[in-house]
Symmetry: C3
Subunit: 269 residues, 3 copies
């Protein structure tokens, strides 16, 4: 596997417009800064259109919302589509409540996303009844083959790249699916670790051409999972230390270390 | 003292719905995750009723508010009362402004709380004129006996458990009052340390039967204070290190360590 | 240089009302607590007037906004002007969007600020067309003399103290300008490091008489930059460790260390 976008993120420091939830703003911004990107946080409907004129990427994360946030996300997403800024959707808790289900459906109908990042339950919700009809419980116990097909199915349905993250990550553009076997069980114990992954993916898209979004997304997820592995070394349940180490690793990680540690499997059809 | 609920929190990972302030969302979520609980942050009026169908506990913290938050808290609190989800109130700065006084009074009139957690000034405000009439300055200099009676008085007034936290914690159900002599002067120097305690109490209620809320609350406060003590070991004014250690300790603390360190005094009437 | 206000902050623990952005609330509160100040975060229009009756300082930071925040800032700022509470403006991203430009202009027209803190781009925007007309690109590459004159020019224009922070800080009251040569390139890689500086300045104003705001602001910036230097010792790109160390240093820093490390140049006209 080639790692070409990490160094571009560090060279170009892409300005990433984040509309994200109030739990993870600080951790997301610090993660992006450590990595080398330049976060711009704003959920003001009055300015989000203008921001798409100078942003390199847009993240829409629905973890917490109010009416003004929803409005800002719709305006920003559509403006980004017009100016060619890649948009990442993080449908946090997509299936958990009726309100979130409706918001996600509206966003998917009105905005074109370059990447959707979610856990198995969230991506499983996006797959909808057809997928559920196959009896897969995406939430727990889904085996590797099922998760791979789930990612692929949602990528085909929404014509975008899907990053299904978990113990193993599955990245699919609907044709090919890559499996990232790196990671650590400590990451999900830090709030916003999924949200920051969505933000990191957006930063990588911000320095890649559209035809390379799949590769950029796969590289982003690999960088992230390997940084997690390195941050967890020597720890068991010290989640405070882990969160600090993880930010350190996002700043320190480089291609040599990545090439040494990455375990990425290509699964072409 | 028996410690029975800490292990249940870790086994059951209770889903706790937090409606809390924008200063402490991240720290609260990380503290709950480290402990073993499962935080769900949302202040959307449109979904907070539904959340009470699958939540094990609800935290209402008024540290920062807007009109939509107040609405969400009222809806969520009443829904939780209907579905039997225990509700913890953290009346941050209750007496500091007229606005907060009115909000707290409205909440106490319309929602049944299982536990109210506050510092001496906040609980002193809830005690109202009768208590103030006794000339107690709950804010500073109140002696141990006064604080114990203050906690008991508010527990009786609102027919719930009161956790009055400070250098020493006083937990009362109106009949019996326990005094927790653990803790560290470093905790109040980390923002949200009181707020996270409220969240931790809610997690413990989420795995205990209603008749045991007093015990569960006492255990939660003991776990918290001992974790603080352990986190402060070897430190003087390194509050950044302390905050990290504290999250580590919430993940690491176990019954043997607790039994060794806990200094809890029962004060029956 | 005399350091007289750091110890007053620790003795008096000034209550600082912060209306700040959702990315930095936690870091700002922890930084203020570590330093010795007492943060009070609220953006509720209903209570911000009352808060000016017991606050020692007010911070207005426009990093993220909604309509209610803007309303609260205007109400609080005007009330603080009436009660004599010093107000610090942090015009985050002032020139970046039309919306922010208008908000900043409205604030500057309706509120008297004791200090404006910003980076070169933000202060450059406040200087307006006259300054831009001189062909200075305040964003990048501006030399030391230009930045010094920029700070002075904005201080004269708004009749307040200006703290232009960056690799070198320039503090000006329009007559004299001080240059603080301390600092570290790691600070800008921690989100909210500029915002926390604004908050720290406000805490120092809270314990100083109005005629000494320039000195108090200069001392605040020096304390901050030296704490950053000390926190960065031995680190290269471990921004997680740096952020923790920095909070530690804000708690530990004292006059002897400051006198030893501070490199402050006075530039009188």
């Amino acid at each position: 596997m080639q790692f070409r976008y990490l160094s571009l993120v560090r060279q170009q420091a892409p300005l990433e417009h984040c509309i994200t939830n109030i739990v993870v703003t600080n951790f997301s911004a610090n993660g992006l800064l450590a990595l080398g990107a330049s976060p711009f946080m704003s959920a003001m409907p009055q300015e989000v259109t203008e921001i798409q004129n100078f942003a390199q990427a847009l993240l829409i994360n629905i973890g917490t919302l109010n009416q003004s946030d929803v409005e800002a996300m719709l305006i920003a997403g559509k403006a980004a589509n017009r100016t060619g800024v890649p948009v990442v959707l993080d449908p946090v808790g997509a299936g958990a409540t009726l309100f979130r289900r409706k918001i996600v459906e509206q966003f998917l109908a009105e905005i074109n996303f370059a990447v959707i990042r979610g856990n198995a339950a969230e991506i499983g919700f996006l797959a909808g009844t057809d997928w559920q009809g196959k009896g897969v419980d995406a939430g727990t116990g889904a085996d590797s083959e099922n998760l791979s097909r789930l990612a692929q199915s949602v990528a085909q349905k929404y014509r975008c790249v899907v990053a299904l993250s978990g113990e193993t990550d599955f990245i699919s553009d609907g044709l090919k699916t890559y499996q990232i076997c790196n990671g650590t069980r400590m990451l999900p114990k830090v709030t916003g670790s999924g949200c920051l992954l969505g933000a990191v993916i957006a930063a990588f898209l911000g320095v890649s051409p559209p035809q390379d979004y799949f590769s950029a997304c796969t590289e982003a997820c690999t960088v992230y999972a390997v940084a997690g592995e390195l941050a967890a070394q020597g720890l068991s349940n010290e989640y405070g230390s882990f969160a600090m180490n993880f930010i350190n690793q996002l700043g320190a990680i480089h291609e040599t270390r990545l090439a040494d540690k990455a375990r990425v499997l290509a699964q072409h059809e």
